[in-house]
């Protein structure tokens, strides 16, 4: 253990101070914000395929319009954003098989057997003058409606929430309740830019 006098030990007492300094630097420089948001998939760009949705029956389309004053018109009725979720859920499921709500077709799905899958499509159209805030609210309510319906189905069929299911069961529910939100080209009625 004999140490020679020429190479004295470096004083470790200031190590804590140095570390503190670095720590404070990184504390200040850190941005902990994880980006959160609504994830959507857009259709590929195809300028020729404009007429494709002509064949879809009127009962199968749920028309949601937002004008430049952020007012909501759903299936010809004015509506509040807070009512939209319940109405959209009714449209997606059509539990009483009403005539004015979407048709269903039998589909064979793994794990579920033969089930009646709705042909419903939600069509969302906004004006160029619509505020982004309102647009996100409406998108959010429509996604929420699908998520709630999927949750309910997952609960009744597998006894769990949709998010907690295994991948194959989740895919089955996804196939059973497909999320189709179609966005039409926006109009410029309100005169906004």
């Amino acid at each position: 253990m004999a140490r020679s006098k020429e190479t004295p030990e470096i004083n470790g007492g200031s190590m804590a101070d140095i570390a503190f300094l670095l720590l404070i630097f990184f504390l200040v420089a850190t941005t902990m914000d994880i980006d959160t948001g609504l994830q959507r998939q857009m259709p590929p760009y195809n300028p020729d395929a404009e007429q494709s949705d002509d064949q879809i029956k009127e009962r199968n389309v749920y028309v949601v319009l937002i004008n430049s004053n952020d007012q909501l018109l759903v299936e010809g009725q004015q509506m509040n954003v807070h009512q939209l979720r319940e109405k959209a859920k009714e449209f997606i499921m059509n539990p009483q098989n009403k005539d004015n709500l979407p048709e269903k077709r039998p589909v064979e799905i793994d794990l579920l057997g033969e089930v009646m899958v709705s042909k419903g499509i939600i069509s969302l159209q906004n004006d160029r003058g619509t505020s982004y805030d309102m647009y996100i609210k409406v998108q959010n309510e429509l996604i929420a409606a699908y998520n709630e319906v999927r949750d309910e189905e997952a609960m009744s069929r597998f006894g769990r929430n949709y998010e907690d299911l295994t991948e194959d069961k989740r895919d089955a529910i996804k196939e059973f309740i497909p999320q189709i939100i179609s966005e039409a080209e926006p109009k410029n009625i309100g005169g906004g830019k």
Binding site: A16, F26, T30, T36, Q41, K137, N140
Partner: protein, 158 residues
């Protein structure tokens, strides 16, 4: 138990500070690893809209961000107060988006390119017109996975 008899006159024994550097180093490493240094300065003002159905973006390396909003205070004099698009560190026009997406895609690993997500960070006061134009450009650039950046809320506000 004679061995454990207290020698002093009671009172609190001093907490050893010998392990303090270790604790500090641990914290330091944690912050060093978790830090993502902000790559670009924000040149637009933003208050993001709130939503209840938000999901976290899984991997930052797959995400490209497009900021839209009114120019920030220092830029108002030059760029006015109409909402503008910010790509990286500069204001841009709608026509620049396609090149931007192509350039960002080039930077990515070949396997990860189909997973690329474009995160739209848009101020909630913005009108949809500009957002629609951006979305249309993204479709033309075949960047089809998009994310409307939003804060997480319990219920939506009026």
């Amino acid at each position: 138990m004679a061995k454990f008899e207290r020698k002093g006159k009671g009172g609190m024994p001093q907490v050893s500070t010998a392990s303090l550097p270790d604790i500090v180093f641990m914290l330091l490493f944690f912050f060093m690893v978790s830090t993502v240094l902000r790559e670009s300065t924000m040149m637009v003002e933003q208050s993001l809209p709130g939503a209840t159905e938000v999901k976290k973006m899984e991997r930052k390396s797959l995400v490209t961000t497009i900021n839209i909003g009114e120019p920030a205070l220092g830029y108002k004099a030059i760029y006015g107060s109409e909402p503008r698009i910010q790509l990286n560190d500069a204001f841009a026009k709608v026509a620049n988006i396609r090149d931007f997406i192509t350039a960002e895609r080039e930077k990515m690993d070949e396997k990860e390119r189909p997973l690329m997500t474009v995160s739209l960070k848009v101020d909630k006061e913005t009108k949809m017109g500009i957002v629609v134009d951006v979305k249309q450009e993204l479709r033309k650039a075949s960047a089809l996975k998009i994310n409307y950046s939003a804060r997480n809320l319990e219920t939506i506000e009026d």
